[in-house]
Symmetry: C2
DNA sequence: CGTCTTATTTTGTACATACATTATCGCACC
DNA sequence: GGTGCGATAATGTATGTACAAAATAAGACG
């Protein structure tokens, strides 16, 4: 019986439903509140997220339970469950067994700034991207530099690299790579692929730490980047870790008025909602 | 038959399975590759993500299909489907009908930096957080300031605010709020709750744009923040939008050596994997 | 030999069912 | 009146089943 009752996914109108199995429902055919676009669980997600984003369901408020929602929208409990569980996973809702489902509060502090590869940024701006390896040396941790999260004596590759946009220096990069974790890097010449991209392509990572600060350029950095000493620069420190081992530690230094971090963060469900 | 075959969720050992339905499988009881912790679909997620993160399944490689995985792990296809579909949603895998499931390539450029409320940051550092409203005025867009993404003539609230940590100024904030979108803000005195937090609590947003730059402090900003002119400062611009209407536009200016953005981004599945 | 059509494989969605899990509510009992 | 404990209501997980949708592969036909 339900086989016939399922909404056809080709004919998006949803107007051909049988009604034998839900004689009680006053609306015969169209499912109220749903837009008929795409899979049912997605329609329910949109419907529920819409209620929240439009302010009809306030933060902290309790939603109807799965049973009620399922009869409200005219779908099975599992379909409702999938939609609601996804919204909960995305942070829109909070669910507690026995207690119910609530609109999440304070989800708004989750601003995030995507940090992209400098080569991509330059290329997308339509400029010519180049880089130069300024220095490359193999050493052991604790000798000339100390990398706190790696044991002393670990073999390390140290790389200094300058990134240019249309011939103008925009970013200096000092990178340490853990040769115990990534021995292949020792054989890589980096004559066409910059170290950042090479690592990103070759080595998986499971977590990364970032610190972004503003600093005044020192004399030598100013000379390298072609600015006057004291110019404001963006300093980004990144350490990536995989399987509990530090992979690489990088310091980027970028000229303040030639480089900025920017990006749009979008609420997951807003994407699907086109809000 | 399958009802009995289901793994008990209380006895986590998983040692009580019947084997009538899979006589071909040589391992009789324990499901191979699974750790017995938590729900089955989560175990499968960990098992699969582990194969990838440990490098046993390389980027671009094709995975066994759902049928094969289900008999490999000794669970139903739906359970496998749920696990794999979640991994795909998290960006670990790419799925194409008829073609199969593949390990995603190039997922590594997705570094993200969380941007937190300054009050939270100061409080977590164990310092005393205070703020002062320096200026507050109502005006119309285009009069003294122009907010590009809002129509001219729209009523706007402009706020200048200084944030302090243990009495030391660390951040200056200049904020514009769209009074058409958030009329309630006109009545809010902001004597105990800072504007940032008030807005975050009151108004939902569906997308936000950030730009982070490094700038040298101008004379007046330097005076406000108590640094010498020219000191490197972090400049953050944020515009939040909801239902296609700009809600608020903020400029934060923070002293370089008193404030930094930092945060850890973790691969979703790595969280569950404890890698 | 190329092109169109048809078959097949694989993932995607929906529903039913059953039971597990967990927090809350309310009542009995001290 | 508090306290514990069992009933209960809600979500969570697992499986079976049945199709739908999409994309590739294979074959028919010009």
């Amino acid at each position: 019986m339900q086989g016939l009752a399922r909404q056809s996914l080709t004919d998006r109108g949803g107007a051909e439903r049988g009604l034998a199995d839900r004689a009680a429902a006053p609306q015969p055919d169209f499912r109220p509140g749903l837009d008929g676009k795409g899979p049912l669980f997605g329609q329910i997600k949109r419907a529920v997220a819409g209620q929240i984003l439009r302010g009809h369901w306030q933060a902290g408020e309790r939603l109807p339970n799965e049973e009620q929602l399922s009869s409200l929208y005219g779908v099975s409990r599992q379909t409702v469950h999938k939609a609601i569980a996804l919204l909960a996973r995305e942070g829109f809702l909070v669910r507690r067994r026995r207690a119910g489902t609530f609109v999440a509060t304070g989800r708004h502090d989750r601003f995030a700034l995507p940090i992209e590869d400098i080569g991509d940024v330059v290329a997308r701006a339509g400029s010519l991207y180049e880089f130069r390896i300024l220095d490359r040396r193999s050493l052991r941790n604790g000798e000339a530099v100390r990398w706190p999260d790696v044991p002393d004596g670990t073999p390390i590759l140290s790389l200094d690299c300058l990134h240019l946009s249309d011939g103008t220096p925009i970013q200096f990069e000092r990178r340490l790579v853990n040769l115990d974790a990534v021995p292949e890097v020792a054989a890589e010449p980096f004559d066409s692929v910059p170290p950042s991209r090479w690592l990103v392509d070759q080595v998986p990572w499971s977590s990364a730490e970032h610190t972004v600060r503003a600093v005044n350029a020192t004399a030598d950095m100013a000379a390298l980047l072609g600015v006057e000493p004291g110019a404001a620069c963006l300093s980004i420190r990144r350490q990536t870790v995989h399987l509990n081992r530090a992979i690489t530690l990088v310091h980027f230094l970028s000229v303040g008025d030639r480089f900025s971090l920017s990006g749009a963060s979008i609420t997951d469900s807003a994407t699907e909602l086109n809000l």
